[in-house]
């Protein structure tokens, strides 16, 4: 018996990229940024300080995004990440202060999971619309932490209704010989070599244990979700829960667990903010990073690698803005101008004349702005991460693909 001769041959899509592709992208970026630095003289673009600050800015966003990833891969939209993060900051403050640094980490995870639990109960068990539940969690979490903080931190040394006392710090790693040894190399401004030195220095100077854990969690998430049975089942719940159910997967249980893990990740993201990015719980500390995490996840096409890239881009541009923003962001203008012109050429070759003209005009305008001003005002440097995110999404968004059943309500027994 042979397969029927049916005339339908879409070529299988190439989806797997080799690790070398990623390496090439990273190296390419490094070269591009080095070039930009040479051309514009904005030498904070790749300093080790910028890179380590980028790491610190990236990890909480990435963790929040991971939280989103876990949940949405199982089909539950989680707009409550911000709230879960807020709970995490409080958990870190409370448990960290009373029981020590690692207890703070656990406390952050635990409180994040409480948020996850509410979301799971609401969406998985009561079939509440995911957005409604997420919004409610954001409100509840904010109110609850503010209320609890005023009950638990007032009167403690350095504590108050809006902040916790200082949390003991987590261990961090400095490999002094490498860090100091490379300092000279970094400062000598050798094209690309210095940049590599800066990266290595950033990774060997004052690297918090939680940063390492955060980055590892990205890897672990990838391995668990894509290389294990558990992950396959979990993802199947996000792609087609009825299929999963028809094959004996306990869909609700997987969704429930996924949302709990999501809460844990978001909580840890909050914990990171309180313990590594700073050293106490502060009201309003998350500053919308939960939403940014959500954006980073979508940006990254619901995949760990992409999501890390999105978080990194965000962390990087935010860091640039906060450090020597006026110069660095100014330099970025040039990059944007060149990029827009490049896209214009690309579009022209694809015969998309109107798009090409649009990009060309944009490129020229941004380029003109670059040459017209010497530095960018603070207000605008603060916008950079958001504008860049919009730009990038505007350019690349159409290829995104979310889990097929993401956000849909699902009830047991609906297979068939």
């Amino acid at each position: 018996m042979s397969a029927p001769a049916v005339a339908r041959t879409p070529a299988p899509r190439v989806r797997r990229r080799s690790p070398y592709t990623y390496l090439a992208v990273v190296v390419g970026l490094l070269v591009a940024v080095s070039l930009l630095e040479v051309v514009t003289g904005a030498d904070d673009l790749t300093s080790s300080g910028t890179i380590s600050a980028t790491l610190v800015a990236t990890v909480p966003i990435a963790l929040a995004a991971l939280g989103g990833l876990w949940s949405e891969r199982a089909g539950i939209v989680n707009i409550g990440l911000e709230g879960m993060m807020i709970l995490g900051t409080y958990g870190a403050g409370f448990f960290g202060y009373h029981y020590g640094a690692w207890a703070g980490v656990l406390g952050a995870i635990l409180l994040g999971m409480v948020g996850g639990l509410i979301h799971a109960v609401a969406t998985v068990i009561f079939d509440v619309d995911h957005i409604v539940s997420g919004v409610a969690i954001n409100i509840i979490a904010l109110g609850a932490t503010q209320y609890l903080a005023s009950r638990t931190f007032v009167g403690l040394p350095g504590g108050g209704s809006t902040q916790s006392p200082t949390i003991p710090s987590l261990p961090s790693l400095t490999i002094a010989p490498v860090s100091d040894g490379l300092q000279g190399l970094e400062q000598r401004n050798v094209f690309v070599i210095s940049e590599v030195a800066a990266v290595v220095r950033a990774l060997t100077t004052n690297l918090s244990a939680l940063t390492v854990i955060g980055l590892l969690l990205v890897l672990v998430t990838y391995l668990v979700l894509w290389k294990t049975t558990f992950g396959l089942r979990l993802r199947s719940c996000g792609e087609s829960p009825v299929t999963a159910e028809s094959l004996g997967v306990a869909v609700l249980r997987y969704k429930f667990v996924a949302v709990l893990i999501s809460g844990a990740m978001a909580g840890l993201a909050g914990g990171f903010l309180a313990m590594v990015a700073s050293s106490n719980y502060r009201d309003g500390q998350t500053g919308g990073r939960g939403y940014i995490g959500l954006a980073a996840m979508i940006f990254g096409n619901w995949r760990p690698g992409g999501m890390l890239a999105g978080s990194g881009l965000f962390g990087y541009t935010q860091t640039l803005g906060l450090r020597s923003g006026r110069d660095s962001v100014h330099a970025l203008l040039l990059a944007v101008a060149v990029l827009a012109l490049a896209v214009a050429v690309l579009q022209l070759r694809r015969r998309h004349v109107r798009a090409a003209i649009g990009f060309a005009v944009a490129g020229v305008v941004v380029g003109a702005v670059y040459f017209a001003i010497d530095e960018v005002a603070d207000d605008f440097t603060r916008m950079t991460p958001y504008v860049i995110t919009l730009l990038v999404l505007g350019l690349f968004s159409q290829r995104l693909r979310m889990p097929a059943a993401d956000g849909e309500s699902y009830r047991k027994g609906s297979a068939g």
């Binding site: 397969a3 001769a5 989806r15 087609s240 299929t243 028809s246 306990a250």
Partner: protein, 520 residues
């Protein structure tokens, strides 16, 4: 009741014995005192009209839904099936009426899902898949994404899933609805092979000829109850149909031709490029339809018929070529303007394209007619008029519903379809585009829909009919065009062509058509 002797091994306990199965849904008795024996190593067909309770019964046997009453025995042992996992453990496998596949996962991932314990999820599993695929000739590549597969291949993946789990009892719920005759033959060969290996197959279909050709026994279900079990050798399709519904089996026979000389729809060089950059989805299609003519389009799913329809409807960007309706050039017009120009559209997927499931019937009456009376006037929705006209459709088209206020979701598929047909016929269209107008609809509703199409044609309507049901195509059309890889490749006279001829043309047999996948 019951009738046939179990063929040979009557001494062995039956593979499946269902006794007194009952299942109620709110307000509906889906199953009531169902009794069926399926002998080992046989193909057992179950037939019945829409909503007779066939799928429900199979879901019960597969553990998706618990029965309210009754017992299930498998190989002589009583079992309780609380979940599909239980059923799989008991050796039951099911291919659902609507495929149960995750599009964005690979074939291998779909197959191993839930059965990871057997061979893991890695290389060993892939090897096993390749082995099974080879030994049953399924020709399935484990590394492809399911979304890239056509219907036939998806079906084989479904069967592979069942086999991978070592099922001894295989349930197939309406597996042939979307297949062309050749694919059906392939499937039946597969089933016979399974049977030869000692597996039992439960097979549900509305196509009675098929049932008669492949089944060893046939059980008829009517209104939730088993009516009888018959031997296919002793019944005709007509008798079966009478058992099912108590009425005659309708056939889509064309009456005398009503074709005129007046060209109503003229399509020239219609081309729709693939946004992903592949070959065009619709490739230089040209044809005319005259007043009073039904043009049938035959083709294997995924060869561009859906895109052709959507391009004519103006739902696709980037199309080139011209579409002229009654002398008016519609190219460049929006879907709304095309509808206003007099195109009625019965979409292929009524849930996705035809209805607002959570809106009332009268709101669904407005849909697609937002610019026209009686439902809308002066930019305002005329609720009273819309309701009244909906009531008219309900009566004229025998839509079974308590009234125009209920949400469309509450109607069964057949009744939803009748509502859509009624809606699209209102507003006096000059052209009706009907994509699979009777898919999944039972014989009664099917006959009614056919009658409506024939009447309209008599009154001068031009019809573009797309259908996977070749009997329907042959019966209704005045002319049949075959579509293959986006282009029209052959023209047939329905009075002379057989389904087999059509099937060959549709698959490009004899031509240099590439095979879907590397076959063994």
């Amino acid at each position: 009741m019951a009738s046939v002797e179990t063929p040979s091994r009557s001494d062995a306990p039956p593979a499946v014995r269902l006794r007194g199965i009952g299942k109620r849904f709110p307000g509906v008795i889906a199953n009531d005192d169902i009794n069926i024996d399926v002998a080992r190593g046989t193909i057992h067909a179950i037939v019945g009209e829409n909503g007779a309770g066939k799928s429900t019964l199979m879901k019960i046997l597969y553990g998706v839904q618990p029965p309210d009453s009754g017992t299930i025995e498998i190989d002589g042992a009583a079992v309780t099936l609380g979940s599909p996992a239980d059923a799989i453990k008991a050796g039951v496998g099911m291919v659902f009426q609507h495929f149960m596949l995750a599009d964005n996962l690979t074939v291998a991932e779909n197959v191993v899902l839930g059965a990871e314990r057997l061979h893991g999820i890695g290389a060993a599993a892939r090897e096993e898949i390749t082995r099974i695929s080879g030994s049953y000739g399924l020709g399935v590549d484990p590394d492809r994404l399911v979304e890239d597969l056509g219907v036939g291949a998806r079906q084989r993946v479904e069967i592979l899933k069942v086999l991978y789990r070592g099922a001894r009892i295989v349930i197939l719920d309406e597996p042939t609805a979307v297949l062309v005759p050749q694919e059906v033959d392939e499937l039946f060969d597969n089933l016979r092979e399974l049977k030869a290996e000692g597996l039992s197959v439960i097979f549900i279909s509305h196509k009675l000829d098929e049932v008669l050709s492949v089944a060893d026994e046939i059980t008829v279900v009517r209104r939730g109850t088993t009516v009888t079990t018959v031997d296919p050798a002793g019944v005709t399709a007509r008798q079966l149909a009478e058992l099912m519904v108590g009425s005659e089996l309708p056939s889509p026979s064309t009456e005398s031709s009503t074709v005129t000389d007046e060209v109503l729809l003229s399509v020239r060089d219609l081309t729709l490029p693939d946004p992903a950059g592949g070959r065009p989805l619709v490739d230089g299609v040209s044809f005319d339809i005259h007043r009073g003519e039904v043009l049938g389009i035959a083709g294997v799913e995924g060869n561009g018929q859906a895109e052709l329809v959507e391009t004519i409807m103006g739902m696709r960007d980037g199309a080139t070529g011209t579409v002229e309706l009654a002398g008016t050039d519609l190219s460049g017009r929006s879907t709304g303007q095309r509808r206003e120009a007099g195109i009625g559209y019965i979409p292929e997927d009524r849930h996705r394209h035809g209805l607002l499931l959570d809106s009332s019937l009268w709101e669904n009456r407005v849909l697609g007619h937002q610019t026209r009376r009686p439902s809308v006037s002066h930019g305002l929705v005329d609720r009273a008029a819309a309701r009244a006209d909906t009531q008219r459709i309900i009566e004229a088209y025998d839509v079974r519903t308590p009234g125009p206020e209920v949400p469309a979701r509450a109607l069964s598929g057949g009744n939803q379809q009748k509502l859509i047909v009624g809606r699209e016929m209102s507003g006096d269209p000059v052209l009706l585009i009907a994509a699979h107008p009777t898919r999944g609809v039972d014989v009664g509703a099917q006959a009614a829909i056919w009658d409506h199409v024939k009447n309209a044609r008599r009154n001068g309507l031009a019809v573009l009919l797309i259908s996977a049901d070749l009997d329907e195509l042959i019966g209704l059309s005045d002319r049949i065009e075959v579509i293959l890889r986006g282009g029209l490749v052959g023209r047939f006279d329905p009075s002379e062509v057989t389904p087999e001829d059509l099937g060959s043309a549709m698959t490009g047999a004899g031509s240099d058509a590439p095979r879907e996948e590397g076959s063994p």
